[in-house]
Amino acid sequence: MKLEGKVWKFGDNIDTDVIIPARYLVTTDPKTLAAHCMEDLDQAFATDVQPGDIMVGGSNFGCGSSREHAPISIKGAEVSCIVAESFARIFFRNAINIGLPILESPEAARDAQKGDTLSVDLVGGTITNQRTGKTYQASPYPPFVLAIIDAGGLVPYTRNVLGIQISG
């Protein structure tokens, strides 16, 4: 699967409180959450982000609370994927579990600037910066994680594990 989108660049240690402040955690609706995504750090993000755009972060992206609302708000904003130097552990699992693609590549994350266009090949794990022409290889996923991605997220993966057929 190939993605292409404009870069929104953020720094190190982007925490889940700035991704989606706790005051909005009275809903689980992706669109409602998306309307407030990143607002304490960059008020333009929620209004200006375009479907397919790519978030780029530094190290420890998604640190802090376990709120799944954080990746849900980003997915709700129709961000196509996140590239970062590294991800916080719980955020990494949450993003994979809900089917939001995330790629770890310190070089690609450092080199990307706001407004750059990145092309991402999720199958091969490559990221190309169209401004510089440079291509980067993201860290491979562990086998369990690949199985979840292949199933389409943790809910369908769990159905497979338990042998539950989807009706309708």
């Binding site: 240690n13 925490d15 409180d17 700035v18 402040p21 706790a22 005051r23 955690l25 009275v26 809903t27 689980t28 304490d40 750090l41 190290s59 420890n60 640190c63 802090g64 609370s65 376990s66 709120r67 799944e68 609302h69 990746p71 849900i72 590294s86 916080a88 552990r89 719980i90 699992r93 949450n94 579990n97 809900i98 562990p142 086998p143 369990f144 997220g153 943790l154 809910v155 769990t158 159905r159 594990v161 338990l162 539950i164 989807i166």
Partner: protein, 422 residues
């Protein structure tokens, strides 16, 4: 080669595996699956989407309304009702209701529901708190919790372990809170990313359980997956009278493999302050500008236990002082059991006469939920665990994280203050 605590407890819960080592990916049985009023609604939604019908084990799922409870508005009321309805429909053994519970990380250890050698997954990042009683406990998101509710298992990567050794005699007004803040200041907010943190040394042996819980609570603030206190007499004395079922202590091997070791000398450590906007922006209090304070919050899963409130009561009684008239002082016991103990000591009267606002147990202000949300540019001194931008209210409010003694002194002086100044 010997094994760390994380390796031993994970191995004991892994299916068809004799032993495990850091880096291994394993499926493990869970002893406790926890979620709160923010994470459980999504977990229940995902659980229903899986379509398995009944939870794997109704005796080990604990849904605790804590964050926006007592319900702060209609939407949060709908969320806590989702928990209560699910608990009734699935006939969950353990029920947690406002007035009978409190903050999950105070309530579960206090009732002996999380025990040494347990493997606990919780839909809350501070689930790592339970490492103080010797459980492997880690925070996860809601869909992971749904998987654990449906299957009784979860998947884990066995973490590498960092060792933290605390030597020397603690100075007055220095607590577990200062030890963990100093540690996070040294290694930074991603210093323990994906790793286990084992705390040990002579100063840990002397540390009471309340302060051990404070330290393991903030493991996540260094990016850690889990943290452990050693099982010893302090653990046994705390756990034995509370344990709701049998438990098995584990001990790290002397020749276990650690990725790094860090030593701290308590004889030279003064009270620490984490300044805005990160828990790793830590400085000794003597180096901090004595800023004017608008609000002081004493409570949370970090410092909302009886012993924490005892520090505040002691300072008020010893000095005979009141809180500063310009400061809102929110004092929130971490559980209703703590509330009752504090009530019986006469401290609710003491705190109220001093000008404090004492509330029913809730996470409330720690996450900017209710009961003490901050306005723009306000300064809050807090015994909680996070001071990220926007965490306790307005994005421009500033939060300083401290121990309960510094919080009490600051509440009295109306500015960041050391108890020796009183």
């Amino acid at each position: 080669m010997g094994k760390t605590l994380a390796e031993k407890i994970i191995a004991a819960h892994a299916e068809d595996v004799g032993e495990v080592s850091a880096g291994d990916l394993v499926t493990v049985k869970t002893d406790v699956v926890m979620a709160n009023d923010i994470t459980a609604p999504i977990a229940i939604e995902s659980f229903n989407a899986i379509g398995v019908g009944e939870v794997y084990n109704p005796d080990n799922i604990m849904l605790v309304p804590s964050h926006f409870a007592p319900n702060k508005d209609i939407k949060s009321a709908e969320q806590t009702r989702t928990l209560a309805t699910f608990a009734q429909d699935q006939a969950l053994k353990h029920r947690f209701q406002v007035g009978r519970a409190g903050i999950e990380h105070v309530v579960l250890p206090e009732r002996g529901l999380v025990l040494p050698g347990d493997l606990v997954v919780g839909g809350d990042s501070h689930t790592c708190t339970y490492g103080a009683v010797g459980a492997f406990a880690t925070g996860m998101g809601s869909t992971d919790i749904a998987f654990a509710m449906a299957t009784g298992t979860t998947w884990l990567k066995v973490p590498e372990t960092m060792k933290f050794v605390y030597n020397g005699k603690r100075q007055s007004w220095v607590y577990g809170k200062d030890m963990i803040l100093r540690t996070i200041g040294e290694i930074s907010v991603d210093g323990a990313l994906y790793r286990s943190m084992e705390f040990t040394g002579p100063a840990i042996a002397d540390l009471p359980m309340s302060e051990r819980l404070t330290m393991t609570n903030m493991v996540i603030e260094a990016g850690g997956k889990c943290g452990f206190m050693p099982f010893d007499d302090v653990t046994e004395a705390y756990v034995a009278p509370r344990a709701a079922r049998p438990y098995t202590p584990f001990y790290a091997d002397d020749d276990a493999e650690y990725v790094s070791a860090h030593e701290f000398d308590l004889s030279e450590m003064e009270p620490q302050v984490a300044c805005p906007y990160s828990p790793d922006n830590v400085h000794p209090i003597s180096q901090i500008k004595p800023e004017k304070v608008d609000q002081v919050f004493i409570g949370s899963c970090t410092n909302g236990r009886f012993e924490d409130l005892a520090i505040v009561a002691d300072i008020l009684q010893r000095t005979g002082r009141e809180f500063h008239p310009d400061v809102r002082v929110m004092i929130i016991p971490g559980s209703q059991a703590v509330y009752l103990d504090v009530l019986r000591e006469g401290w609710i009267e003491l705190f109220t006469l001093a000008g404090g606002a004492v509330s029913v147990s809730t996470c409330g202000p720690c996450l900017g939920g209710h009961m003490g949300v901050l306005a723009s540019n306000e300064v809050c001194v807090s015994t909680s665990n996070r001071n990220f931008r926007g965490r306790m209210g307005h994005r421009d409010a500033r939060v300083f994280l401290v121990n309960p003694a510094i919080a009490a002194a600051s509440a009295i002086m109306g500015r960041l203050a050391h108890p020796d100044e009183l």
